[in-house]
Each structure stands twice: as C-alpha cells, then as structure tokens.
C-alpha cells in the first residue's frame, strides 16, 4: 500500500506511467467507467476547497466508485480534539482510499503513517500538493508535448505557494529546464528551494520583479494567487495581493506558443479578458487534473483495466 504525500514519492517513471494512463482515460473514458465499482474514496478536507475536492470526487465517480467525507474541519471530529492519527484509523475502516487536505503542514504524512489505506495529500498548508503537480505536469506534457527544454516562469506568491514549490521540485528532474521567478521581494521563493534544490543541482534560474521584461522569453507562465489565508498580517496581504495582473496588453508581449497555467482559484491576477486567449489553458488544466487523479486512484488501488 502506497501513499502519495510529496511529489518526491513518485519517480519520473511512475509519473510518466500516470500521464500515459491519464491520456488513455481521457481518450476512452467509457473503458474505465466501472473500474472502481464497489470502491469508496474518503475526502477529508479540513480546509475549504472547491476544485480539488470536487476533482477527486468527480474522478472517483467517473471510475464507478463512491465517495464520502467532509468539506471543512467544522464538520469533523477535529473540533472535538480528535487527532489526525485517530481520524485516519477510523476512516480506514470505511473507505478504500483517502484524499486529505489539511491546513497544518505534515498532517497527511501523519495520516499515512497511521493508515491501512492509501492516503493522497490534497494539500497541506504551504507545503505540498502533489496532485496539483501531477495536474500541471500532465497539462504541460499534453499541450506542449514535452517536459524538458522549457523556460518556465512562476509569477506571484512564490513564498507560500505550495503548487509552485512542488512543480519546481518535479521539473528539476527533466533536462534543460530553466526557471524565472517573478515576485515582489516579500514573496520570493524560500531559501531551501534556492539553495538546496536549484544552486546545489546547478539548475539555471533568475529572480525578477517585473513580469513584462521576461514575458517574451517564456514557454510556460505559471500564475499564482496571493493567498490571504497564508498571511498572519492583513496589511501585508492587502499590499501584495494585486502586485501582478496579467492582462491582454501583457499577453501581447508573450510568444504565440506560450501557455498560461494557474492552479485556480483566480482572483485579480489574471484579467478575465485573457480567458479568451488560446494560450490561457487554466480551465483545460482543471480537466487534466481530474484525469490524472483518476489515473492515480487506479494506480494506488492497483486496479488494472484490460
């Protein structure tokens, strides 16, 4: 029984297998529509989420399985002081697989250590969000045709943005990927990413504050929201939340084949006028997310569809 807590829990080969299976499911969904008959996915969401929870639930329903769970900590025994370890021991008796989102970093790891069913980390604080990483990789691979030889720009909250951290970690495994980090100085990537991941592995990167200057050089622009819930200080949030706004004028500076990704939800950082641009693929990204989660559920439940 395997759990997926960090993007590092999956090898490049395993990720490639998942993407192949995801493509196959996307191409022939009817073939997989009863693959999880009789199986139950528990979605334990201690923090509000629309996309991720519904994506997991949609994935399981499309596979013929069922779902149960809670959508906020208020509706769980956490309010009574139950530990994550105890909760997962109970859930293990009801479900075959579990997706957990928790505001505290490391909570899904605690769950996995106490679980008899596979646990998928659906986001733990500012830490990891491996299925978003799989979604991002699958989207890039499907629409760009490759995960190597890319210039990838990350823009916005690079300090607390767990999707950014996880995607950087995953892309390091592919040759000739160069990163450009666009953020205000308060929201720059954490030191451990700069030192332990990039400098130590001689991965080329730049840190800039102006989006316009580097737009023409990018293959991928990964926009992020400045997340109110990650700030202890409301003033800092208000000051930084609209630091970058991608609009049509800025898109004119970008290459014709550049892709704009965003983990969503979007607030002000991408103007709605950009949605019509064929390079804006963040809504397609959501669909890829569901297919890759379907692939992950099948793999973790060790279900092969012939």
């Amino acid at each position: 029984m395997k759990s997926v807590i960090s993007p590092l829990d999956l090898s490049v080969e395993e990720i490639n297998e998942l993407m192949e299976l995801g493509s196959e499911i996307k191409a022939r969904p009817e073939k997989y529509s009863h693959a999880c008959d009789g199986k139950i996915l528990a979605t334990l969401f201690y923090e509000p989420s629309t996309r991720t929870r519904l994506s997991f639930e949609a994935a399981m329903l499309h596979l013929g399985g069922k779902t149960l769970g809670f959508a906020t900590a208020d509706s769980s025994s956490a309010t009574k002081g139950e530990t994550v370890a105890d909760t997962i021991k109970v859930i293990s008796k009801f479900a075959d697989i579990c997706a957990m989102r928790h505001p505290k970093e490391g909570a899904p790891q605690v769950a996995a250590a106490n679980s008899t069913i596979p646990v998928i980390n659906a986001g733990d604080g500012g830490h990891h969000h491996p299925t978003q990483t799989l979604t991002d990789l699958f989207t890039i691979k499907s629409l760009k045709g490759r995960l190597d030889n890319l210039v990838v720009g990350f823009c916005g909250d690079l300090k607390f943005g767990r999707t950014v951290h996880s995607l950087i970690r995953a892309l390091i495994n592919y040759p000739n990927v160069r990163f450009i980090f666009i953020s205000p100085k308060e929201l720059r990537i954490p030191d451990y990413i700069r030192n332990d991941w990039l400098l130590r592995n001689d991965i080329p990167f730049e840190e800039v504050t102006k989006l316009e200057e580097i737009l023409p050089t990018l293959d991928i622009l990964y926009m992020t929201r400045v997340q109110r819930e990650r700030f202890f200080n409301e003033e800092d949030y208000v000051r930084l939340k609209d630091f970058y706004i991608l609009d049509k004028k800025k898109m004119d500076l970008a290459r014709e084949d550049m892709l704009v990704l965003h983990p969503l939800p979007r607030v002000n950082e991408i103007s709605v006028e950009v949605d019509k641009d064929p390079r804006a693929v963040y809504f397609e990204q959501v669909e890829y997310g569901m297919y890759i989660r379907m692939a992950l559920i099948l793999k973790l439940l060790e279900i092969n569809v012939e």
Binding site: K104, G106, A107, V110, D124, G126, H127, D191
Partner: protein, 163 residues
C-alpha cells in the same frame, strides 16, 4: 564554573601556562572533551544539565595542544541517562568518554545523527506538531555538510538560533 558537589584537587589536570586546575575523578558519567571554546555553556544548557540534580563541572578555555583552547564538561550521573544522538547533535567535533566504576568503558564516535527524535522542536506555527503535541518531534539531517536538520513533517529547517 562549578555546580554543587564538585570536588577540586584530584587527578584530571588542565594546563594553561603556569596555571593548573584539578577536577575530581568521577565514578560514573561522561567527560565531554574537545568542545569548541565558548560552546561549553551552550552544550550545558542544550543537554539540560542545569536541570539535573547531579554533579557537573564546566571548564572553559582550557589549554589544548590540538585546539589551542577548548571547553570541557564532566557529568557524574547514571550513563543510561543520555541519548548519544544528542551529544552528536550539540557538537559532533567533541569527544566523549563514558565512565563506569571510575574507568573509561567506551569512547563513542560522535557524528551528526541522521535523525533526531525529541531533541529539538519545530518552530513552524503551520507544522502539524504545533497543534498535535503528542507527535514525536522528528528531524532529519538533510545537509551533512552544513549540519542542516529539517522537520520530518513540514520540512522546515531548524536554525541554531531557534534554541
């Protein structure tokens, strides 16, 4: 600096120029030697020696042929009272003699332990250990060159000034 009960004028001898300081022999305990000069008090605190009801001697800036100066700590206590990982963590360049019945019974090699359990605490307020107090505080050595430890749960690096 002496804690209570330490007898002076015995076998161990530390020389610095003309000055001689004698510290009593211990029956059971540890001698932590070759501590980087100035770190003795920090190790004293980190090991929680200030909280023990046993005989402790700290010698600062003792003469050392190898190091020029060094700090030393002698602790008279039952030898199963300390976790060797802890010694390695606080100063892996130090040496340690384990003493029982007045004799040195081992000289464990100190190195940075790969994992520390309940030695240091994670100070990340977003870490699961901040709310679930029953969890072991586990840190993993991620960068032996720089002695960086990261929390097993949230991967936040432990800084020396967190202590």
């Amino acid at each position: 600096m002496w804690s209570k009960g330490v007898e002076s004028m015995a076998e161990n001898e530390i020389k610095q120029g003309e000055y001689k300081l004698h510290v009593g022999k211990i029956e059971e305990g540890f001698v932590i030697d070759h501590i980087q000069p100035g770190r003795g008090m920090k190790i004293y605190r980190d090991l929680g020696l200030d909280k023990l009801d046993c005989c402790v001697a700290i010698i600062r800036n003792a003469y050392s042929r190898k190091m020029g100066k060094k700090d030393m700590i002698k602790v008279e206590c039952p030898i199963d009272q300390f976790n060797m990982d802890f010694f390695g963590y606080v100063d892996h360049t130090a040496t340690i003699d384990v003493i029982k019945n007045g004799e040195i019974i081992s000289k464990p090699h100190l190195e940075l332990p790969k994992k520390l359990t309940n030695v240091i605490r994670c100070h990340n307020p977003r870490c699961i250990t901040s709310t679930e107090q029953q969890l072991d505080q586990v840190f993993v050595l991620t960068d032996p060159e720089n002695g960086t430890y990261r929390c097993k749960y949230c991967e936040t690096a432990y800084r020396d000034d967190d202590k």
